[in-house]
């Protein structure tokens, strides 16, 4: 079920990031990858490590660890309507790159969260065109709503 839009949609989608957003539409987390150095993020026309322009795409496993987090207690963006508190997270994918995201299916409470805890991706469909990757504790049960 598509929930009413409670957050600003990504706008504009940049050309370099289209495979990422197209992948998400099919519940796949796609990462740009360098033949020599492996995956990186965000999408760009060169590898930020060796500067090769030979970039392809791979599907990530969706497994990650929590690198760091915050708990928003007030709306920080007037266009973001998810009722606080919600979790702002920086996760490190098992493939290496880091993403900013939200944690769901876990209490927005420092006592329930620990850096380096194991996470797995969940796909949140915002519109027919836009799905975003969020994360939950590995093995957690899905709950209704959340950030």
């Amino acid at each position: 079920m598509q929930q009413s839009l409670d957050r600003p949609l990504p706008e504009p989608i940049t050309p370099e990031a289209r495979p990422y957003w197209e992948g998400l539409r099919n519940d796949k987390l796609m990462l740009p990858t360098c033949a020599k150095c492996g995956p990186f993020f965000y999408p760009r026309v060169l590898c930020p490590t060796c500067h090769s322009r030979d970039i392809s795409w791979i599907e990530a496993s969706g497994k990650a660890t929590l690198y760091s987090f915050e708990i928003a207690h007030q709306a920080l963006n007037p266009g973001f309507k998810v009722p606080p508190p919600y979790i702002l997270a920086l996760v490190e994918l098992d493939e290496g790159p880091r993403l900013l995201t939200n944690l769901v299916d876990v209490e927005p409470d420092p006592a329930a969260l620990k850096c380096d805890m194991r996470l797995e991706v969940v796909f949140e469909r915002l519109t027919d065109a836009i799905t975003i990757p969020q994360f939950r504790p590995a093995g957690a049960k899905a709950s209704e709503g959340g950030a």
Binding site: R7, S68, E70, L76, F80, L90, L100, I132
Partner: protein
Amino acid sequence: MRELSNAACIVGAAESDEIGVLPEKSPLSLHLEAITNAVDDAGLTINEVDGVFTAGQYTPATVAEALGITPRYVDGTYVGGCSFMILVGHALAALHHGLCDVTVVSHGESGRSRVGGPRARDQSLNSQFEFVYGFYGAPSYFGLIATRHMHEHGTTLEDWAQVAVSTRAWACLNPRARFDQPITVADVLNSRPVCYPFNRLNICLVTDGGGAVVLTRPDRARDLAKPPVFVRGAGEGTEHVLMTQMKDLTFSQATRIAGEKAFRMADVEPGDFDHVMLYDAFTAGPPIMLESLGIARPGEGVAYFADGRSTLGGSLPINTNGGGLSYTHTGMYGIFPIIESVRQLRGECDARQVPDVRLSLVNGMGGMLSAAGTLVLANEA
């Protein structure tokens, strides 16, 4: 690089006529007030200014036009709030090479009242990879740095709160500071939660204001109104803009690079300073800067605040103007710590004057420790 050490002096430093909440003033007016006041402080006239350096909402051309002058050297480097430290470093090089003779570095920002139009910048990366999750504005990002530091070093909420307490104590001694009542660790911990791990009192003010400094070469500087403050060293660096690109959230590579360069130019060691100004948009900033600059070991920066070293009478007074936390913070705060350092080195600070200041460190950040600018300032060459 060593030949740049002491090649220029700060000869004038001032805020706009007022700082605080100024809904009747455009940012451009704040620039013009600050420049007028800083040029007066130096005993110079605006017509003698031939180098215009600024960052933010206006290009140097707009500031020069508003001043009614035609500079022969301009710089608009814009990498966040530390741009002003970096611009002082650029002024050092430009003055050394004779590219201009009298440089003004100026700031004006209606951060609180939002007078004037917004800046237009490409935010497509932020929109795609940050805003859709609720990240937006500095308080939604900087806590990531603090949380990871807590995890790796055992830093506590009480430790961060000590930074706010120490800085407020200095603000109580500064008549220009926005806050003039002391606070305790409990006050910080009980203030309104904004974005864990930060409560309201962990986060800087949002104000309106301007500031400017004037620089010239030492031969000219010696004949002006105030004792010259020598720029002994300057450094800059950038690491990232998006938080996903900062390799180690507990340590700022940009700050390390900026500090190492400034210290080498000045021929000083990290432990040589008797006064320190650190850009404090959040309480976690100054301790991590001490660590990244090599003044404190990793994880030990907070001890400078907890044990009183940072306070009046302490061995390393830090943020003696009351900081972005309690004095003023317009959005790009970087000009104000430079002004305070100049005043301390001149001995103009009355109740908050640090005795016998000879060597002062000013370190700024842009973004979330994304960029850095470091200055080593001294009252003797």
